[in-house]
Symmetry: C2
Subunit: 266 residues, 2 copies
């Protein structure tokens, strides 16, 4: 437990200033974290990251980190998604070149994990590009959900949520996570309101973030169970790997992006 | 052989008028062909298309067909790729709900095939959106490559190109395909020139289309061999399925899109 707290403090001590500054520092941090995330996936599937497919997958992942504000000027109509698609085509071509070692399904695995990890971190960059306050607010909801789900589950948990995948989670805990983070949001908003949403939109936003955060958590549990590992990696002592730490974030941030673009441009 | 010719004539009799008209007719044809293409992939992997994952995969594929000129107005910043990503997230969520039947790798397979098939047909729509002449020109190069590779391979073929995957293809045939289609392009251009490219760009375009067309062909051979099937389907008697007929097209059309956007907007 002590190790867990120390790790969290050190990680936050690095992360928060970089999140505040935004720009190249934050992007570099995410470049590194994405690479580690892809490495963790390769480890789980017992694939070698020091290979053509490893390099291509990392490049495909990084292409998303330039999706919000490109550092390099691309011709009109060529966006990050084209770069991603081009790399996926190369991964498919690799199944020809290494036909006995690298299958179509391996190419599919590589293209999905780069979408998942790259898209997730790019979601955080999007939130940060709105404002620092907005980013903090969204993280507050995601991390709040985790903590409230834990507390409520401990206290009232009776009915299992997904016993096959994550035996400790309960429906009571999950609902508690949503209610708790909604309460947290309502508590914070009078002091600083980063979203100019109506009350209804505001409630909808928080509930969505909370639900999708929990969904992201379950998705990670599902693939970890499938690959038969407990933690995705060891980067954060007491917390596991990059994928363990950002599982809820990936899903929630992406949902935020969609909701914000649908309702938020006012 | 006779069956093959009749099928080709009927297919061209339907395809060419729709390609000429463009618009909703062509889009509808591609909606149908994409669905059949996805069905063929599901058959190969022995997955059931009449399932949640089947429906989601088809929807993800179709989302690309609206990428060039959307029929529905989406909010600013929400593009086809967001829709695709959203559906991929739902496929990942399905691994939680159906944890014993639908794995992370299955979700990856579904997301790659929808990118491949949807992206391929969307590439044809892009070429057609430039002009009918341009579309015909590109198809001429792709189909010309096939024919010349066959003729040259028969006559001069000695060295195997990829014996593990496609035992009949030879390096001589492959080079003949490139040279033949380059000759065809140069023959056609004085009469009608759909591309305002310089000679060098023009040669580069044809060689790329020819090489990527052949690459697309090999990629298909690789996954058919892996799934242990001869044809991807039976839609076109004598020609096989949708994936058999459009294998070169998918890769070549995508390459065309990239090249055109890099060089072509002049």
């Amino acid at each position: 437990m002590e190790k867990r707290v120390i790790t969290a403090l050190i990680a936050l001590g690095i992360f928060l200033p970089l999140l505040y500054e935004g720009g190249i520092g934050l992007r570099t941090l995410f470049l590194l974290l994405s690479t580690v995330g892809i490495y963790e996936f390769f480890q789980m599937k017992k694939m070698n990251i020091f290979s053509v497919e490893g390099v291509l997958t990392i490049l495909a992942t990084l292409s998303f980190l330039f999706s919000q504000r490109p550092l390099v000027a691309l011709p009109r109509g060529i966006d990050y998604f084209f770069i991603y698609f081009l790399i996926v085509m190369l991964l498919m071509a690799l199944t020809v070149y290494k036909s006995d070692q690298f299958s179509f399904e391996d190419a599919a695995f590589c293209s999905l994990i780069s979408l998942y990890v790259g898209g997730g971190f790019s979601g955080i960059l999007f939130v940060r590009s709105i404002s620092f306050g907005m980013a903090i607010f969204v993280f507050l909801i995601i991390w709040g959900t985790d903590s409230f789900a834990y507390i409520f589950g401990r206290k009232f948990g009776k009915h299992k949520l997904a016993p096959e995948i994550s035996p400790n989670k309960t429906i009571e805990g999950s609902i508690g996570g949503v209610i708790g983070s909604l309460g947290l949001g309502l508590l914070v908003v009078p002091f600083y309101n980063p979203v100019n949403f109506s009350v209804l939109e505001f409630v909808f936003l928080i509930v969505s973030l909370s639900v999708f955060g929990q969904l992201g958590d379950l998705v990670e549990s599902a693939y970890k169970r499938q690959f038969n590992v407990k933690d995705s990696g060891k980067l954060f002592p007491g917390h596991g790997g990059v994928l363990d730490r950002f599982d809820s974030t990936f899903f929630a941030m992406f949902m935020f992006q969609i909701l914000y673009k649908f309702f938020g441009n006012n």
